[in-house]
Amino acid sequence: MAVKQLSVFIENKQGRLSEVLKGISESEVNIRALSIGDSEDYGIVRMIVSDLEKARALLGENILSKITSVVAVKMDDRQGALYKILRTLEEAGINLMYTYAFTSNKQFGAYVVLRVDDVEATERLLSDKGFELATDEEISG
C-alpha cells in the first residue's frame, strides 16, 4: 500500500537543487510533490515522482539517493482535516519524523505524506480509523 518516496542528499549551495533536478525536469518524469529538509551544510530533497526507477536513473550514480516508504493519506479539503490525522497518530504514540502535503488535480483534492518508523502499523491504524490511504498508482499516475 505504502507510497515510495525518493530522497536525495545535496549540498546546501546555490544552484545545487536545480543542477540535481535538471535531468528529471528534462524528462517525462513528473515530480508530484517535493519537500526539503535542510541544515547549514546540506539539504535532503524528498520527492514523490511519477516514475521512481527512471527518476533515480536520471539522477545518475554520483548523486546520493534512497527510496523510503511513506504513508500518503487522502485529505478532505476541509478546515481541520490535517489536524485529525496528526491527532490520530499522536494518540497512538506514533512518532512523526516529518510531513508535507500536496494537492492533485486528479479527482481527489489533497494528500498528506507522513514519514514514520512503522509504515504498516500506521497504515493499519489510519484505515481502521476511517482514513483513506493513497497508493503509488494513484499518486504517481
Binding site: Q5, E11, G37, Y42, I44, N62, K66, M97
Partner: protein, 435 residues
C-alpha cells in the same frame, strides 16, 4: 631594575657557555646510559658508548628520540631516577590515547622555574611586579612554569589559571597586574574584552606580557601590544624538555634566547638527520644537559626553525631561535592542543566513514576553529534530518574524545572531496601563522 635573573650565566662569553655544556653533557650521557635502558639500547645499537661523548661536539653521535619513543616508553620507560626522588609529574595536552608524562626532581623544578624567571626578568619583571598567570594550571606546564618563575623572581603572583575572562579583568584592574602570562590568543581576547567594556589601553597597569604555547605572528604581536598598551614577549618550551622557558624573548624582540646552560640546541635536516650549520633552516633538536628525572637526549621537536648566535643589544650571549616556522610533521596546534590528521582519520574509520575528508583550520575572533568535511556513504544517508544531525553530533563527540577539542562536522555527498594522485592535501590552514 635588574636586567637579568642570573647575569653571570646569561651574559657569559661563548667559551664559558661551551665549557659548561661540555662538562654537563659528559655527565648527562653517563647518567642516561646507566639509568635508562631504552636509551642505552639505542646507543648500543648505534655502537656509541658514554666514553665516546667528550663534549657537545660529540652529541651528533647520539641517537635521536622522537615522540613515538616517548609514547612507547609511557609511563616510566625514560625515567632516569628512582621515583622516590621525583616530586612532580606534568603532562602534554594529550594527543593520542597515550599522553607524554614528564617527571621532575626538585632540582629539575628549580632549573625549570629559573628558566621562567629569566624570561620574566627579560620582560622587565621584578619583585615589584604583579604577575597574572592565566595559562592553565594542572598537568599542563604553562601555569606551573610561569607561576614558579614568578615566585623565583619574588613577584606577587596571581594564579588565575585560564578562562573566566570576567574575573581575569576584574583582578587585573583591582589588583593592578603588571605582567600578563597566557597564550597569545587569550591575550588578544582579553584585549578585546577590555575594549568591549569601554576600557582604554592606558586604563590598565600592565606593562608586559609573556605569551607562548601556540604559534603567533608579528601582526598578532602588534595588535596585542596596541590593545593592551604593553610589550609582548614570546616564550618557547615543551613538556618533553620541561615546559615553557627553554627559550624566551628579550627587549630586542628578535628571537628567543635558548637557555643554553641547560638545553643544547641543534638544527637538523628532518629527512636525513644530518646536523646543519648555524643559520640554516631545519628541525630543532634539544638535549637536556642537566635535568635528572626525565633527561631527553637529542629530542626531535618537529618544529622548523633557524638558530643564530650574535651580539644582542640586551647583553645576553645565549643563542637565539626564531619563532618556529612550521612543522616537519603534519601536527597542527589548535587552541593550544596538538592535533594530527591521522587522529582524525582514525576516528572517521572507527565510526564507519571513508578516509575522504578535508580539515579546515582558521582563526576567527582570535580563536582557532576546526572544521572537518566528511563524505557520507550511501548506507549512512537518512531522509530524516534528525538522524543526520544525531550522526554529526556522535562524530563530533568521538572527535572531541580523541583530540581534546571539538570540531564542527560538515557532512558532504560522496565523491565531492577532491581525490589526489600524489600526496593528498588533507589540511587547509588559513591562519597564516608562518611567513
Amino acid at each position: 631594575m635588574r636586567h637579568y635573573y642570573q647575569e653571570d650565566i646569561e651574559t657569559a662569553p661563548y667559551e664559558e657557555i661551551r665549557r659548561i655544556q661540555n662538562e654537563k653533557i659528559v655527565r648527562q650521557v653517563r647518567h642516561v646510559y646507566d639509568n635508562v635502558k631504552y636509551y642505552r639500547d639505542l646507543m648500543d645499537q648505534k655502537g656509541v658508548k658514554p666514553e665516546d661523548i667528550k663534549g657537545v661536539d660529540d652529541i651528533r653521535k647520539l641517537p635521536f628520540l622522537k615522540k613515538d619513543d616517548l609514547r612507547e616508553c609511557y609511563p616510566y620507560g625514560l625515567l632516569a631516577t628512582p621515583l622516590k626522588d621525583c616530586v612532580r609529574i606534568q603532562s602534554t595536552s594529550g594527543t593520542t590515547g597515550k599522553r607524554v608524562v614528564a617527571f621532575y626532581t626538585q632540582h629539575d623544578i628549580d632549573l625549570w622555574e629559573e628558566c621562567c624567571a629569566r624570561a620574566i626578568v627579560a620582560a622587565g619583571g621584578s619583585d615589584e611586579d604583579v604577575v597574572q598567570v592565566c595559562y592553565g594550571y594542572g598537568l599542563f606546564t604553562g601555569g606551573a612554569g610561569l607561576h614558579g618563575g614568578a615566585h623565583k623572581v619574588g613577584a606577587l603572583t596571581l594564579p588565575m589559571s585560564s578562562g573566566n575572562t570576567e574575573r581575569q579583568i576584574q583582578f587585573m584592574m583591582d589588583l593592578q597586574s603588571t605582567i600578563l602570562c597566557c597564550t597569545p590568543s587569550y591575550a588578544a581576547f582579553i584585549a578585546e574584552s577590555l575594549r568591549d567594556r569601554g576600557y582604554k589601553p592606558s586604563d590598565n597597569k600592565l606593562k608586559a606580557g609573556i605569551f607562548g604555547a601556540e604559534p603567533w605572528t608579528e601582526e598578532m604581536r602588534k595588535s596585542i601590544e596596541e590593545g593592551l598598551g604593553i610589550k609582548a614577549y614570546d616564550i618557547y618550551g615543551l613538556t618533553e624538555t620541561s615546559g615553557p622557558g627553554v627559550a624566551f624573548e628579550c627587549s630586542e624582540q628578535t628571537g628567543m634566547h635558548i637557555n643554553e646552560d641547560h638545553f643544547y640546541a641543534e638544527i637538523i635536516d628532518p629527512d636525513t638527520g644530518e646536523v646543519l650549520p648555524e643559520g640554516e633552516k631545519g628541525e630543532l633538536v634539544f638535549t637536556a644537559l642537566d635535568k635528572e628525572a626525565f633527561p631527553l637526549l637529542r629530542y626531535r621537536t618537529r618544529d622548523i626553525c633557524i638558530l643564530t648566535r650574535g651580539k644582542c643589544s640586551c647583553g645576553r650571549t645565549h643563542i637565539k631561535m626564531c619563532k618556529p616556522m612550521g612543522r616537519s610533521d603534519d601536527m597542527m596546534i589548535i587552541r593550544g592542543v596538538n592535533v594530527f590528521p591521522s587522529q582524525i582519520e582514525t576516528v572517521l574509520l572507527n565510526e564507519g566513514y571513508t578516509p575522504n575528508y578535508m580539515i579546515y583550520v582558521d582563526r576567527k575572533n582570535n580563536t582557532d576553529t576546526l572544521d572537518i568535511d566528511v563524505e557520507l556513504t550511501p548506507d549512512q544517508f537518512s531522509d530524516n534530518i534528525a538522524d543526520m544531525q544525531a550522526r554529526e553530533k556522535t562524530l563530533a563527540s568521538a572527535m572531541r574524545t580523541m583530540l581534546g577539542i571539538g570540531p564542527k562536522i560538515h557532512l558532504v555527498p560522496p565523491k565531492t572531496i577532491q581525490r589526489s594522485e600524489g600526496k593528498a592535501v588533507r589540511v587547509i590552514d588559513n591562519r597564516k601563522l608562518h611567513d
